[in-house]
């Protein structure tokens, strides 16, 4: 896509906790100034990966390079990264204003005026103990820190917990507007896939510690179809194709088929009275990550 040096370079990354393999041999690179979705089920290894990207955990094997350097205890690199963690804890007695006042020490690009503007937008109380803020207000604080840090790499781990629909859309709109003005690399880990899918340029999907998908959001969209009709007709249409999912209702069946359908496929389906419908981004990722088949085979099919 472009020939710039990747901002994030992860090579053979593995991490085990006792006998649990949280990440297994994860390899990918991320080009600068891309909004990337990090998706996967609970326990897929997303948070482990983000902690290692930000130098907060050590790999059991493999390496992480940010701007070509190891992030662990590397202040030049860490100043350019912001990690908004869902599990962020602050010392007793800390108020939002203390956190915003201290932020310039951690983030070299911190924009205090922008932070003030966001405090108004999200209606965040500044002079209340952070521990006494609601879950949504704590999330808003994280979102404000993440956006105003203007960090070259900003990583949001489930930034929306407790945020209502209005606040979430404020977050998406502000993120897009600010990204358009000041492009930077954004990694967004979320379960609300349908809400964010249009914001993403790239998608990483983790499943049971392995990287299931690493591709552009655009190539993923429309890369599977749902075919519905009489079970016998559906199954003969699906024969020889990669079926990601199959549902039946009486004599009717619906299958999710990987890969783009050709015009000839559409004609064949119409002739057999089959209905073809697009599969939503979220549904596709759900179908992919509930399969038990080995990951590489799936990824190669969806890659066209």
């Amino acid at each position: 896509m472009n020939s710039q040096t990747p901002v994030i370079q992860v090579d053979g990354l593995s991490r085990s906790y006792r006998d649990v393999a949280a990440l297994q041999d994860v390899t990918f690179t991320l080009q600068p100034n891309v909004i990337c979705g990090l998706l996967g089920r609970n326990g897929a290894g997303k948070t482990t990966l983000m902690r290692m990207l930000t130098g907060q955990a050590f790999p059991s094997a493999g390496s992480v390079r940010l701007f070509g350097e190891n992030p662990v205890e590397n202040s030049a690199v860490l100043q350019q990264i912001c990690f908004v963690s869902e599990a962020q804890r602050y010392p007793d007695g800390f108020q939002a204003r203390h956190i915003l006042a201290g932020a310039p020490w951690f983030f070299s690009n911190w924009d205090a005026a922008f932070a003030d503007e966001l405090v108004g937008k999200f209606r965040l109380p500044l002079k209340r103990d952070v521990k006494k803020l609601s879950r949504g207000q704590q999330s808003a604080l994280g979102v404000i820190v993440g956006l105003a840090s203007r960090a070259s790499i900003t990583i949001f781990d489930e930034p929306y917990l407790g945020l209502d629909a209005v606040a979430r859309h404020t977050f998406y709109d502000t993120l897009l507007a600010d990204y358009a003005e000041q492009p930077r690399t954004i990694v967004l880990s979320t379960h609300l896939i349908d809400e964010v899918s249009n914001l993403l340029e790239h998608v990483l999907v983790l499943d049971e510690g392995r990287l299931l998908l690493d591709q552009s959001a655009e190539s993923l969209r429309g890369s599977a179809s749902a075919v519905a009709g009489r079970a016998g007709d559906v199954d003969s249409f699906a024969e020889g194709r990669q079926v990601l999912h199959r549902d039946t209702l009486g004599g009717l069946a619906t299958v999710t088929i990987a890969g783009r359908l050709t015009a000839a496929d559409h004609r064949a389906a119409a002739a057999a009275n089959l209905e073809i419908a697009p599969v939503s981004f979220q549904q596709l990722i759900v179908d992919l990550s509930t399969r038990s088949a080995p990951a590489p085979a799936v990824a190669s099919v969806v890659h066209e």
């Binding site: 998406y172 897009l176 003005e181 249009n198 914001l199 969209r221 119409a270 697009p278």
Partner: protein, 122 residues
Amino acid sequence: MDEGRPIFQQIAERVENDILSGALSEEGQVPSTNEFAMFYRINPATAGKGVNMLVEQGILYKRRGIGMFVVAGARERITARRRELFVLEYIAPMLAEAASLGIAPDQITQLIENQLIERETR
């Protein structure tokens, strides 16, 4: 946005629709990529891809440092291409549906004529 179809294609289609309806005039300026991205809540790179597709098709052109404009004659060009697609996208599916409902060919022509009369008298 409709699922399953590339978003950049849908953006391009919406711009074309606005040119056909006259909402965007020929030689008029169109919103910037970032404005499209924010309006439709999509990634700016995706919006840019849609706009670039229209540039390649000779519907929009770039004026350095100013922005994106509608090519003179763009309406004609879009109309011509959509007329070619009309049979494929509207008539063929209609005939397939008619066949599955058992509507005979002469009935179809009759139904179309009735609709045309109704439109005229409305």
